[in-house]
Amino acid sequence: MFGNLDFDVIRRALPYLFFEGMTFTVTLTTLAGLGGLIFGTAIALMRLSGFKVLGRIAGIYVDFMRSLPLVLVIFWFYFLVPYIGQWVTGASRPISVGAFASSLITFIMFEAAYFSEIMRAGIQSISRGQPAAANALGLTYAQTMRYVVLPQAFRNMLPVLLTQTIVLFQDTSLVYVLSIPDFLGAASKVAQRDGRLVEMYLFAAVVYFTISCVASFGVRRLQARIAIIR
């Protein structure tokens, strides 16, 4: 069944696949993960703050983002970002942003909704005595969050955050719908150019599978190591 397959096509495409495609995928995953985490933490703090209005807004944002398919959100931002750019810079016509910037903004906004739920759970898992003690020591709200609550919440949730990042890594393949050469997009370009769909898609599947497997194995190891014994 593998008789008429030409696996040499993969070897010839390797530099393009990894230097262009995988670099794009990994950069996008890293930056979107960091951005999503920062923005998500801000949303979580809004939801847990004493201000009802802020909490409502954050809650609606999270529910809204989580009800929509990622593909639709990718399309939304792809068409919307030029108009937002025009509005921000006051230009006379929609400004063109590159494929990378557009997908980065999409993934930060989308993942923030998911990261915020994780961070919210992390913050809520910290006992009441901690912020109370910080308060008694005279720390301000910002200091309490910065030095007491967030470091612990982050540490408790690190395995979940990393698992979500693996999901994000797999989800970045969906930029395929914008014909962007991420890893899968690059594989598919070569596949269509050389008429070698089977080899290229099998190879892409193996690469995604290996990376995700190794990463989730690492997360499991990490989880066992950093678990706080109570």
Partner: protein, 243 residues
Amino acid sequence: MNYHWNWGIFFEPNPMGTGTYLDMLLSGLALTLKTAVLAWIIALVFGSLIGVMRTLPSRAAYWFGFCWVEFFRNMPLLVQLFLWYFVLPELLPKAAGTWLKQLPNAPFWTAAIGVGLFMSARVAVQLQAGIGSLPRGQKMAATALGLTTVQGYRYVLLPMAFRIILPPLTSEFLNTIKNTAVAITIGLLELTGQARSMQEFSFQVFEAFTAATLLYLLVNAVVVTAMRFLERYVAIPGYITGK
């Protein structure tokens, strides 16, 4: 913004001659729901089998379940759909491959089966956790009463486990609906696909995507409400969520 809004576009005829643009979006919604329901049935059947296998004492069953879950969890859904759609027919014997390729509605069946198997791994993990959360005594009591393993699962463990994991299963069902949108890449004209083609035909980007967004929100709201009734109906007395 110098965007030309035209909300009346929904009532203008679409270039396919299948009625208005609104009809186009609604047919996409119907296809999304059809695909999602079929995928969900597949996910529940396979997910339950695999989830149970992962809790059996047999090591072989455990390993089979483990491999199944890792296989479907560690590849992007998009890649899995490509494997089923482009790769599988080429690897099968010629006659079977040709039959697969000539199947009418191939994108629909590929999407339903692909999304279904992808979600089955998640259902399996949930069910395993649900069974694991039951007190050990349940299984022992079932054995002590003389129930076979099958009967123990059928009458004691599964009815409890499924009721406990109903809330996470609801969000997995919502994920199934959302994941059908990935099938746009193999040419399935579900809701996102129809919104995209409406945008290409009419250039009314934001109207098309707003309508699709509202329809997804509506489906979400209906599912969440329905599941809340179901949760209350099957709640276990004595548990926090019970009556």
